[in-house]
């Protein structure tokens, strides 16, 4: 079968899933045009989460995944979502400043070209990166074809390279989507990733507008982010970073909204984003922990509820993952470096920082210098600074944690730091742009 037919079918499926998810998202975002771009992003993310949940539930129950359980799950979720829908908060779109038509056209063209270039990179060939073959795609294909959880099919003793301890969010998305497509097509499924890119750009634009950042900053931020090839690359298509970067942004914006009590749905959004971030990758647990600690340190009456919304859903995912993976533990790290071998830790930490600086930061210095200038050009803005704080905590951990790597800090820095760090880009973009308010 050629590419076009399954690709067209999958595009229609993703559109339907987004519409269905948008109905469910009525429980997360108040109605009104202020939330419109974010509503579509949440609609896509919630919709894909329901598709993944359908795959998990059918595999667990031993029934065949596909359209019937998916439609049933969407109907139940929509009924619950509409029952719990949020009321109008009386706001409408942020005041529009006068726009320069030429600049608008240029920025929209830049944004559109970023989306189109990524579409091309993502769809040039079936998903191909090594981690897609060895981890994410392998588990998704196993879930779809064997209709069993990977731990029951791929013996951990033989498949340690597939990281049995990783959460199953992305493989479940693949399996659920393949059940709707009725075939395993690892080329058509790549369309998921440009959809995640568009969802990220929409929430970036929408959140900045809702928070009163005046034109053209939100559009420029989205247009520049769309061009970030290290994130929106063929290599990362198939891996967890692109969806994770979207969820990190959803988490960060909901977290900031929650602390500022912007609307009654913020805490629900935060809890959902925490759950989904942790379900995609272990870095989601780190973000949830950073959010919980940050919330507890905030001088706000809501701090304990915000901390709970950050931590509890992620902990639930952690527990579920332990059960489904049959207690598999991370194999890349040796906690003895925090115990009996702690004497080696300073040298290993120094090696992590040295390699991280030499191979991660030094080659990117012009971009980092631009980011520093943008930071300096802005001004203190708590709702945006929180996102930068979350990104900074994650980055510090990403640079330090290779000190615990079994195969040595240099190996882990080289294999993971660039791609885990670049997944923080949407958070950083939102934080920097939020500081550029009038």
């Amino acid at each position: 079968m050629s590419l076009l037919l399954p690709l067209g079918a999958f595009a229609a499926i993703l559109a339907a899933v987004t519409f269905g998810g948008a109905v469910v998202a009525a429980a997360l975002l108040p109605p009104g045009s202020t939330f419109k771009p974010e509503r579509w992003s949440w609609g896509f993310v919630v919709g894909m989460s329901l598709v993944a949940a359908q795959a998990a539930a059918t595999v667990a129950l031993g029934v065949t995944p596909g359209w019937i359980p998916t439609v049933g799950l969407f109907a139940m979720a929509a009924a619950l979502g509409l029952r719990a829908r949020l009321r109008e908060i009386g706001s409408d779109a942020a005041p529009q400043s006068r726009r320069a038509a030429v600049l608008s056209v240029l920025l929209v063209a830049l944004l559109a070209s970023g989306v189109l270039f990524y579409l091309l990179r993502a769809l040039t060939e079936p998903m191909w990166s090594n981690d897609f073959l060895a981890i994410w795609g392998l588990k998704g294909k196993t879930l779809f074809l064997a209709k069993r959880f990977p731990a029951g099919v791929l013996a951990p003793s033989l498949y340690a390279f597939s990281h049995p301890e990783y959460p199953l969010g992305l493989p479940l998305i693949y399996a659920g989507a393949a059940s709707l497509l009725n075939r395993w097509d690892d080329h058509a499924l790549a369309l998921l990733f440009p959809f995640f890119q568009v969802a990220t750009l929409a929430v970036l634009f929408g959140w900045l507008r809702r928070r009163g950042i005046s034109w053209p900053v939100p559009l420029a931020a989205a247009a520049l982010l769309s061009q970030l090839e290290p994130l929106y690359s063929g290599f990362l298509t198939g891996m967890a970073e692109v969806p994770l970067s979207c969820l990190f942004l959803l988490f960060g914006t909901a977290y900031s909204d929650c602390l500022d009590e912007t609307d009654t749905g913020a805490r629900r959004r935060l809890a959902v984003a925490s759950f989904l971030s942790a379900a995609l990758k272990n870095e989601g647990l780190l973000l949830a922990a950073a959010g919980a600690v940050g919330a507890m340190a905030a001088r706000r009456s809501v701090r304990w509820r915000v901390a709970a919304a950050c931590a509890l859903p992620a902990l639930a995912v952690f527990g579920l993952t332990r059960v489904v993976s049959r207690g598999a533990t991370p194999r890349d790290f040796d906690l003895a470096f925090l115990g009996s071998r702690i004497g080696e830790l300073p040298a290993r930490l120094a090696e992590s920082l040295r390699v991280g600086f030499a191979e991660g930061f030094r080659p990117a210095w012009p971009i980092l210098a631009c980011l520093a200038l943008l930071f300096a050009a802005g001004r203190r803005t708590p709702f945006a600074d929180r996102l930068l704080g979350l990104a900074a905590v994650c980055l510090v951990v990403y640079v330090s944690i290779p000190a615990l790597a079994v195969l040595g800090p240099t190996w882990l820095v080289r294999t993971t730091l660039p791609r885990t760090a670049v997944a923080l880009a949407p958070l950083v973009a939102a934080g920097l742009a939020g500081r550029l308010r009038d």
Binding site: M1, S2, E125, G137, L138, Y159, D186
Partner: protein, 113 residues
């Protein structure tokens, strides 16, 4: 664009064959995909016999054969498993199940382990 235009009308396996994941040895992917299509029903697993085993070769085989488990051959083939032999050499005394492009599917005789 040229690559997409050239490969989009072809079947999925051909698109992977022409892509990056098979670039380290396109003949190897041809062999794997041919072997996958000829696996006997109920095969419990596949032991790969390769001249030069590598992580890339194992990962591509594991993905291509999934959900059938794959290991690199280390002296014995478990009961119910079969050997996928890449290349022209054949383990002596083993039973040939089928020749495929680039190799063969085989099982050890009871005495050859």
């Amino acid at each position: 664009m040229r690559s997409v235009a050239a490969f989009a009308p072809r079947e999925l396996a051909v698109r992977r064959l022409g892509g990056s994941s098979a670039a380290f040895d396109r003949g190897y992917f041809h062999f794997l995909e041919s072997a996958r299509r000829r696996l006997p029903t109920g095969t419990a697993g596949v032991a790969l016999i390769l001249k030069r085993p590598s992580q890339d070769a194992l990962h591509l085989a594991a993905y291509t054969m999934a959900p059938v488990p794959v290991v690199v051959f280390r002296g014995a083939v478990a009961p119910g498993w079969i050997a996928a032999v890449y290349g022209s050499e054949r383990p002596p005394g083993w039973k040939l199940l089928v020749e495929v492009p680039g190799g063969a599917l085989m099982v050890p005789n009871a005495s050859s382990g």
